[in-house]
Amino acid sequence: MTHINLASLEVGQEVGSREFHLTRDSLVKYAGASGDFNPIHYRDDFAAAVGLPGVLAHGMLTMGVAVQVAADWVGDAGKVVDYGVRFTKPVVVDPSEGAVVTVTGKIGEINADAGEVRVDLTVIFNETAVLGKAQARVRL
């Protein structure tokens, strides 16, 4: 059980919003934590050589930070039982400025019988959605 009363929820209701400032340091930390050492995530020369507009954030980093909005709302990250995204646009991380990713969570569906709620996440960088169909099913 959590602090959330399922009967009080409505589809479309906002459950939280958070800004994530991703810097080159964030990318190096995620590379180490995840074991994904693809150089497009930390080497400008390599990114340029394969035709990218710059060093990109790991899609899995963007996915990983976005779900925090749902986890914080439910209060227990272990209650996120199903989480999927589509990677639609890259997040280019400027060496000095970094990149700001804004995540907003809204209730997409309520399944009272299962005690579950689907949280739909909107993930914006540079005024563009970078994840598609980002949906987290949480068990209350």
């Binding site: 964030s26 934590a33 899995m60 996915m63 990983g64 779900v67 925090q68 199903d82 999927g84």
Partner: protein, 147 residues
């Protein structure tokens, strides 16, 4: 082009991966978690877990070990330098917690071509030491063809 004949192919289970408490904390910091169950043993135990809970996307670390065997498989013929992550999903039977010993078994769910590009979808089942299913990770990679 990815070899379409690998559709349905199953890869052998990976060696067990022991989920360390500090690895969970490191991953949680990297994805900017502020959720106490990810880092605080007492908070995790108060919520009913045996140890700190891995963030919802941690299973990618286990999936990656299976994926590495596919990328090294000459039959699949995947050029990693042309790979883009298309989509990703994690369906959990229960959360991963520190102390878990996990193995993964990957199957190629589908291989499709989209013009010059290939789309290959993997389904990786992650089991604990008692062979109970913990998580199914579903991942689609897009392999760019010659322009």
């Amino acid at each position: 082009m990815v070899n379409p004949n690998v559709e349905g192919k199953k890869y052998p289970a990976t060696d067990p991966y022991l989920v360390g408490r500090e690895k969970v904390r490191e991953f949680a910091r990297a994805v900017m978690s502020t959720n106490p169950v990810n880092t605080d043993v007492f908070a995790a135990q108060a919520a009913g877990y045996s140890d700190v809970v891995a963030p919802p996307t941690f299973a990618v670390v286990i999936q990656e070990r299976s994926l590495a065997t596919v990328l090294a498989d000459p039959e699949a013929d995947i050029d990693f330098s042309r790979v883009v992550h298309g989509d990703q999903r994690f369906v959990h039977t229960r959360p991963i917690v520190a102390g878990d010993e996990l193995t993964s078994e990957l199957q190629v769910a589908s291989v499709k071509s989209l013009g010059a590009h290939s789309m290959i979808t993997f389904e990786t089942q992650i089991f604990d030491a008692t062979k109970q299913l913990v998580c199914t990770a579903i991942s689609t990679l897009v392999v760019r063809g010659d322009e």
